[in-house]
């Protein structure tokens, strides 16, 4: 569990969708005070309860038994900020009151690293192993082994990765039928477990392996994090052919893409030019929010102290980068249909 207590009242008011004045909010919801009469903090769990209150839904509400939306962060190029965005968006969703499960799908385990899980010193059950168990005839999945809780109340959980996962392609390759469905099979088999979350966030590797394909199958709309640079446009073409293969294979056209421009620097002319070219061709698939190149994103991966290696919303909630993450997360919850209470729109 992380040392993070909660968000401050101003953000809590925004996230909970409170429309009356802020004094009324502070009166109705106390939050927790680290120091008496000082800044109050609202834990993700509490935001969830406030939102449920506002919807007149009891706190013990249980989701119907069906799979939540899966957001697959995927890009055929490294270094575009997939992991950073996946971690920040997932934590932002949790702070907005959604129950979120993060799955580190990259053998480099950078998402796990961001949350302070180190496969070298800890015993890690990675998602590849879970998939193997789910696909074998005589083993139980024991998914609880894999979960590492991040925020209290099951608001943010992580299935970490380890370097062993790179070997997953080996056994997937030996399956004769349904190689692509190994991940969806895990989701189906453990539906009771997965349906407890409001959203699943997958951080995929840049390579095109059987493992990344398996993740793609589970999420019809791939979320591509793209830097407005020439190489990224090339990588988009690779991703496009990959998606085309999937559509051909399944004889559908359900697989598509959603593009988020990341690490944009307004003062760099080539960024402006490339972003213009991107909107020329992919305008229909692009998220309106642009994530700016912000140094705080670097800070959270370069730290050595795990407890203070914060996500932007934890460490610098008033920063430009945090603002971009919040805007992006809001639009993604709409796009992927992530709901606090099924049947009622999430962003009430």
């Amino acid at each position: 569990m992380r040392g993070f207590v909660g968000i401050k009242s101003r953000m809590a008011i925004e996230f909970s969708g409170w429309t009356k004045n802020s004094k009324a909010f502070l009166w109705a919801y106390r939050g927790s005070e680290l120091v008496p009469h000082q800044q109050r903090q609202y834990a993700p769990q509490e935001i969830r309860n406030i939102r449920l209150d506002l919807l007149d839904v009891p706190h013990i509400y249980k989701r119907p038994r069906k799979l939540p939306p899966v957001i697959n962060f995927r890009m055929a190029k490294g270094g575009t900020g997939k992991t950073t965005m996946a971690a920040n968006v997932a934590s932002c969703m949790a702070m907005m009151g959604y129950r979120v499960l993060m799955i580190d799908g990259d053998p480099q385990a950078s998402l796990s690293g961001m949350f302070g899980v180190d496969w070298a010193t800890q015993d890690v059950t990675h998602v590849g192993e879970l998939m193997r168990r789910a696909n074998s005839k005589n083993e139980t999945t024991r998914i609880e082994d894999a979960i590492v809780p991040m925020y209290a109340g099951g608001m943010l959980d992580l299935i970490p990765a380890s370097i062993d996962m790179a070997g997953a392609d080996g056994w997937i390759n030996q399956i004769n039928i349904g190689r692509e469905q190994t991940f969806t099979k895990l989701l189906d088999k453990e539906l009771d477990f997965f349906s407890h979350y409001d959203a699943i966030v997958v951080d995929s590797a840049p390579s095109s392996s059987l493992l990344t394909t398996a993740f793609m199958v589970a999420s019809p709309t791939v979320l591509a994090i793209v830097m407005p640079e020439r190489q990224s446009l090339g990588a988009l073409n690779i991703l496009q052919s990959h998606i085309q293969e999937l559509n051909d294979h399944f004889g559908t056209s359900r697989y598509g893409i959603h593009i988020v421009a990341n690490r944009y620097n307004q003062s760099k002319k080539p960024h402006q030019v490339t972003l213009g070219q991107m909107t020329d061709t992919y305008g229909k698939f692009m998220n309106d929010t642009i994530v700016r190149d912000f140094v705080g994103f670097l800070r959270d991966t370069s730290g050595t102290d795990n407890d203070h290696r914060g996500l932007l919303l934890e460490s610098e909630p008033n920063s430009v980068g945090a603002r971009d993450v919040i805007d992006l997360t809001k639009s993604l919850t709409k796009l992927y249909g992530i709901k606090l209470v099924d049947g009622i729109t999430g962003n009430v």
């Binding site: 953000m11 496009q240 559509n247 056209s253 642009i290 008033n318 920063s319 805007d327």
Partner: protein, 309 residues
């Protein structure tokens, strides 16, 4: 929460920070089974003989070597990207972009070229030709200046900022390129003949020199001629003119000689003046130098007395 407004794609497009190519083809379906195609109809093969240049093309100068290089690559790899044409009422076609490729194709002896054909009104064609060619080829600053002026004349833009947004450049650049058009006619004639003679920075220098040394127009013109005649760098114009002007003021014109003769026409004395120095030479051998010195000194003393009067 941060007060700095988030960036939106829509906002950047609206403010003109990023600009869209009006001819670009939007992808309708990502990873569709039909594959990645730029247009639903696909390119056609159009006879090169039926293709005319766009009257709106800002480029006036085609470097034959560059066209030749392009022809080589076309011969080796073929035409990767079709040119864009619009159909005219008389059955011929008018280029919107692809002027250089068309020329290279003609040089190679091709009879037809792959082209997309669109229906554009004059106004649409003008805008498309302006914007796409401005972005695609390395136009000279003078050509850009003319193009920007035309975009105002045609009503596509009202201010320099509008122009900058239209062509995806900066207001400063627009201002510099358009300032070139304000040079005296002699320079504009030179640029008309050779648009790449000098750029906007050099034009700025010239305007500055003309203002500083209004009497030295000929010298400044010489300075510009040096670019073509001596292959001088256009950045050197300013320095060269300044140096020449300085030299001219240091040496006060040509040296002057005076000769004093007797009645027979024999040279008695010569006087030479250079700058502030006067040299008197005694040619007649019968006259003593001492005598002359006394005469001159007496005259000088008399002149000096005058100062106190």
């Amino acid at each position: 929460m941060s007060d700095r407004k988030p960036l939106k794609v829509s906002g950047l497009l609206q403010s003109g920070k990023i600009s869209r190519d009006p001819n670009a083809v939007q992808l309708e379906e990502f990873g569709a089974r039909t594959g990645f195609r730029a247009s639903s109809t696909g390119p056609l093969q159009i006879a090169l003989a039926d293709i005319d240049d766009s009257p709106y093309q800002p480029r006036t100068l085609y470097d034959p070597i560059e066209i030749d290089n392009l022809a080589h690559s076309l011969a080796a790899a073929g035409l990767k990207e079709p040119v864009l044409l619009r159909a005219k009422s008389d059955g011929r076609h008018e280029l919107i972009y692809g002027h250089r490729r068309t020329r290279a194709g003609r040089n190679l002896g091709w009879t037809e070229i792959a082209a997309y054909v669109v229906t554009h009104s004059d106004r649409e064609a003008e805008l498309a030709a302006m914007v796409s060619n401005e972005a695609r080829v390395d136009l000279t600053d003078y050509e850009r200046g003319m193009l920007y002026r035309r975009s105002i004349a045609s009503g596509f833009a009202a201010t320099q900022t509008d122009i900058a947004n239209l062509f995806g450049t900066t207001q400063g650049r627009v201002s510099r390129c358009m300032a070139m058009l304000k040079l005296p006619d002699t320079y504009l004639v030179m640029l008309d003949q050779k648009p790449d003679l000098f750029g906007s920075r050099c034009a700025e220098d010239i305007a500055h020199l003309l203002k500083e040394y209004p009497a030295e127009t000929a010298l400044i013109e010489d300075g510009v001629h040096r670019i073509t005649e001596e292959g001088a760098d256009q950045k050197s114009v300013k320095q060269w003119v300044q140096q020449m002007v300085k030299q001219k003021h240091n040496t006060a014109g040509p040296k002057e000689h005076a000769v004093v003769t007797d009645r027979a026409g024999r040279a008695m004395f010569t006087a030479k003046r250079a700058g502030r120095e006067v040299t008197i030479r005694i040619q007649a051998t019968e006259i003593e130098a001492k005598e002359v010195e006394e005469i001159v000194l007496a005259a000088l003393r008399k002149r000096a007395e005058k100062v106190f009067e």
